[in-house]
């Protein structure tokens, strides 16, 4: 049986990306919230919220995506975390994956890429 994905957290410091990612999720019937950096992503989980899916940018001020992903996994957060970044350096991608990602997609995010993430979530 397919897991129902109903909630997502968009972690991105870019307001244009935040808006687009929220619309992509909204069109697939997924409710979302946005935060502007890794620290806010951690804080929102400390406050008790949980999400089926986290779309995590890499380069962000205060706390980047790698550190945030690591911290969330240390906290025991089992949500699917998909890294979404324009960074194409293989080493950085590997470090991001090692921090605890379930998937990685290069920006810009499209419907097809988001659907691919969701299919992976269903197989998790």
């Amino acid at each position: 049986m397919d897991k129902k994905i109903s909630t997502a957290l968009v972690v991105d410091d870019n307001t244009v990306n935040q808006r687009i990612h929220r619309k992509l999720l909204d069109n697939l019937g997924i409710q979302s919230e946005t935060v502007a950096n890794g620290k806010e992503a951690v804080d929102v989980h400390i406050s008790g919220k949980n999400f089926d899916l986290i779309l995590m940018d890499l380069e962000m001020p205060i706390m980047n995506g790698i550190e945030a992903t690591r911290k969330l996994r240390e906290m025991g957060i089992r949500s699917m975390i998909a890294g979404v970044s324009t960074r194409s350096l293989e080493e950085e991608k590997q470090e991001f994956m090692k921090a605890g990602l379930d998937d990685f997609q290069e920006k810009p995010l499209t419907v097809a890429k988001l659907v691919s993430i969701l299919h992976k979530l269903n197989r998790k």
Binding site: N14, V16, K23, E59, P61, T86, T110, V111
Partner: protein
């Protein structure tokens, strides 16, 4: 001008933006996201892009005007601009940002200043083009017509 003519004018104008490299397929993705729930989604996102970009261009101008340029700061701003231009399909702005980042890495102030001029030029060009496109759309809607879907395969 009758609606059919306006629609043809819009289609030709929009196609030219793709042919001339101002826009890429990511812009089509944005148009496909627009629906009855968010009928002005594209205008909303592009307006956000304009707002963001102008702040970033001002920050970049200030940052490069310093005696000791903080290249990390400059690079961070260019990264932001590259990100949002890529997300809306503003291809020429994105490409100008890629070149800019290379010179940030080299910490080459002169080259960065030239890049900033290039980015500004490309940004104001695409802004002008998109505003013209949105005006054409508004004219069609005001005349009771619908916005044609642009097919880029031909």
């Amino acid at each position: 001008m009758e609606v059919g003519q306006m629609q043809r004018r819009l289609v030709d104008y929009t196609k030219s933006l793709f042919m001339e490299g101002f826009l890429d397929s990511q812009f089509l993705q944005l148009q496909q996201l627009q629906d009855e729930n968010n009928p002005d989604f594209v205008v909303e996102v592009v307006s956000l892009f304009f707002e963001d970009s102008e702040k970033l261009l001002n920050e970049l101008t200030r940052a490069l005007d310093q005696t000791n340029v903080e290249f990390k700061k400059v690079d961070a701003h260019v990264h932001q601009l590259k990100g949002s231009s890529s997300s809306i399909g503003a291809q020429r702005v994105k490409n100008a940002c890629i070149a800019f980042r290379n010179f940030c890495e080299e910490q080459n102030t002169e080259a960065c200043m030239r890049c900033l001029q290039q980015v500004k030029q490309e940004y104001y060009l695409v802004k002008n083009k998109l505003e013209t496109m949105f005006r054409l759309e508004q004219q069609i809607v005001a005349a009771g017509g619908s916005i044609p879907i642009i097919e880029m395969s031909s």
